[in-house]
Amino acid sequence: MMARKKLLLVDDDLDILEQLSLALGGEGYEVVTAQGRKEGEEILMLGRPDLAIIDLMMEEMDSGFVLCHEMKKLYPDMPVIILTAVTAATGLDFHARSDEARSWVKADALLDKPVRFEQLKEEVLRLLEPRESEATAAGV
């Protein structure tokens, strides 16, 4: 049996941490949560998760961006998804749909809150491929 993939979830909203931990846990992932950039950084020092899902506006407006940069410095190959309500709150529209945008956002995907779980699950699967997708396909 393959080892469970480890996901790091960083958000200052406890409800989101709890809901997503349960949902992603239900999909067979091992989920580690952090309630902000600082806690996220501490967890990162303990080892590389397979993927991280992080909020943007936490202790500071741009905590998520800072955390993304640090993550990519430490583990350049680790996929990162930003899950944010920044556009709703500020009107500023960020995305990670082009190479240019990804190069400075330092995230591999950016999803607007509220997200449907099927969207998040699909992004996680996509970014963890190829191994994960083959395993999923084989399991169907």
Binding site: A85, T87, A88, A89, G91, D93, R97, S98, D112, K113, P114, V115, R116, E118, Q119, K121, E122, L125, R126, E129, P130, S133, A137
Partner: protein, 573 residues
């Protein structure tokens, strides 16, 4: 005889007719911001006020019945001043960013302000701060630009019976929002876009993909392929000042090439393919005692409607993917490898009359190993914008043909754009499949027209078939409740989410009335009447696809590429 006098003209109102309706018949333009043709009046915006002799104050003409002996003034100084003041009060709490607004030049509020000569801000109202809702895959909401006319709320609830948005709070704090104000993405919104179609301002718009498509077009590593839906060629011309119903299919193909698309395919081809699969699926269900009535699956808002409100009917929905998704799957999984292209380097764009197609394209079911069959969906309105960005004027281009192998269509595939068109195309092919002969008259009149419900009982060979066609989700809900209540005479049901079908889709050019929709419908049937290839099964390229690759309808390859399954969906209600 009942008569009224309007601006010194005597006129005979019809029984129950409102003053507004009488005036419109006379050619008198009375502005409205909340009136919806075909629905009872709401009297919310007060722009349609008129002066009626003997009445205290002004009366809203949209909700006031014409009564014998009335003397009405529609543009007296008092009326004009009142309307202008109401408009200025609406503008008092409206943002000033018209230049940057997606509805600039298409905004009813802006047009009225210009018409009434508003040139300064006399009132500065308090602006409630509302968050943008960009969470949805198809529709973006900006409550800051909302004037509370309530049209979106009424279309969503009264016509579509979805009711995913409503007024929240009271008085000056009122705004339109989703359940618990949680955002469209997790709401019961089916993404049909009928709210966008009726919104007078920039409060509701489609989620634009124009920039993404431009980026792909400018990337030399990408092969960008486009497909265009049957209903687009008879509507896009309106954005260039031509009359509703003008068909610019060839000019549009030429324009798409000049925009930079490497290959241009016609979704009507995959509509023909849908008919081959769907007619076979229906025959299979009837012959093997499968679940009936079978329901069409072309309209993605309808699919989400069933998934969230009527999950018990999911097995009734055809497993066929929609024509957009069939074409997308063919492009990425069949065509690209044969061209020696990596599907990851192919960008598949579709031009659709529909906002819900954006949601459909992003469904996880519509990808193979996370490579999506359709990458970006542009509405007809976004196409007009794209052509503008590239400096193209449709009306001066010479017509061109779409590309092989997915460019040739039958006119049966083309009439998919109108309510009843899928059924008509299916009956033509089912008749041939079951009897070996073509229908003596290919025109099936009972399936045509803008009525919300159309029914047909037909004998095909030895088989007696009951068919129903509904458009507008409210009509679909009624029919589903009849079936749930025990109605057993139907074998096949066609559902299109928008009233009248895709020709009235949520992505179509704005500012149109039902006369324009009727003209669009007429155009599709004219194309069919003039067509030489009028049945899906006679499309030579569809035949070739089956001979050389798919085998037969419902084959293993067909199932793999062209069919899918839907699931019960939980939403915030």
């Amino acid at each position: 005889m009942t008569t009224i006098r309007v601006n010194n003209q005597t006129v005979e109102p019809k029984p129950g007719e409102t003053i507004l309706s009488v005036c419109r018949r006379l050619g008198i333009q009375i502005p409205t911001l909340c009136h919806i043709e075909g629905l009872p009046p709401s009297g919310a915006c007060r722009m349609c006020l008129v002066e009626v002799e003997g009445m205290p104050g002004l009366v809203p003409s949209c909700s006031y019945p014409a009564a014998d002996g009335m003397i009405v003034q529609t543009h007296s100084p008092l009326v004009v001043k009142a309307r202008r003041t109401i408009l200025e009060l609406l503008l008092g709490s409206h943002p000033d960013d018209c230049l940057y607004c997606v509805r600039n030049n298409h905004c009813e509020l802006q047009a009225l302000a210009a018409e009434m000569g508003v040139r300064q801000r006399r009132y500065v109202g308090r602006r409630e701060r509302h968050e943008l809702d960009v969470s949805g895959p198809s529709i973006v909401r900006d409550p800051g630009k909302c004037i509370l006319c309530g049209k979106c709320v009424r279309v969503c609830e009264e016509i579509q019976t979805v009711a995913s948005i409503d007024f929240i709070s009271r008085g000056a704090a009122t705004f339109v929002g989703t359940a618990f104000n949680k955002g469209l993405n997790v709401s019961s919104c089916v993404n049909c876009g009928q709210c966008v179609r009726v919104c007078p301002t920039g409060a509701l718009t489609e989620r634009s993909c124009v920039q993404e498509v431009l980026t792909a077009l400018d990337d030399p590593r990408k092969t960008v392929v486009v497909q265009h839906a049957p209903a687009v060629s008879v509507t896009i011309a309106e954005a260039f000042g031509l009359k509703p119903g003008a068909d610019v299919d060839g000019q549009m193909v030429a324009a798409l090439r000049r925009v930079g698309f490497d290959h241009v395919f016609d979704t009507s081809f995959s509509a023909d393919l849908t008919i081959m699969e769907e007619a076979s699926e229906l025959a299979h269900r009837i012959q093997t005692g499968g679940i009936l009535p079978m329901m069409t699956s072309c309209s993605p808002a309808w699919i989400k409607f069933v998934e969230q409100f009527f999950p018990e009917f999911i097995p009734n929905v055809s497993t066929c993917k929609s024509p957009q998704q069939m074409m997308g799957a063919l492009i990425k999984q069949f065509w690209a490898p044969r061209q020696g292209l990596d599907p990851r380097q192919v960008v598949s764009v579709s031009i659709m009359p529909c906002t819900a197609k954006k949601f459909e394209a992003a469904r996880p079911e519509m990808a193979k190993e996370h490579v999506y069959d359709v990458d970006y969906v542009l509405t007809t309105r976004e196409l007009a914008q794209l052509l503008g960005i590239r400096g193209l004027n449709l009306s001066v281009l010479e017509p061109e043909d779409a590309d092989t192998p997915f460019g040739e269509r039958s006119s049966a595939g083309k009439i998919f754009g109108a309510s009843g068109g899928v059924m008509e195309a299916a009956v033509r092919t089912a008749h041939y499949a079951l009897t070996g002969k073509e229908l003596s008259d290919l025109k099936i009149q009972p399936l045509r027209g803008l009525q919300g419900v159309k029914e047909l009982r037909a004998k095909i060979g030895d088989l007696e078939i009951g068919a129903a066609v509904v458009s507008g989700l409210g009509q679909a809900r009624k029919l589903l409740e009849e079936v749930r209540g025990g109605r057993r005479d139907l074998h096949f049901i066609e559902v299109m989410s928008c009233p009248g079908g895709c020709i009235n889709g949520g992505g179509q050019p704005l500012g149109t009335d039902m006369q324009a929709v009727a003209a669009r419908m007429k155009a599709l049937y004219r194309i069919d009447a003039e067509g030489t290839l009028r049945t899906s099964h006679s499309n030579p390229w569809v035949k070739r696809l089956y001979e050389e690759f798919l085998g037969a309808p419902l084959s293993e390859r067909s199932h793999h590429l062209l069919h899918t399954h839907y699931h019960h969906r939980e939403v915030v209600l």
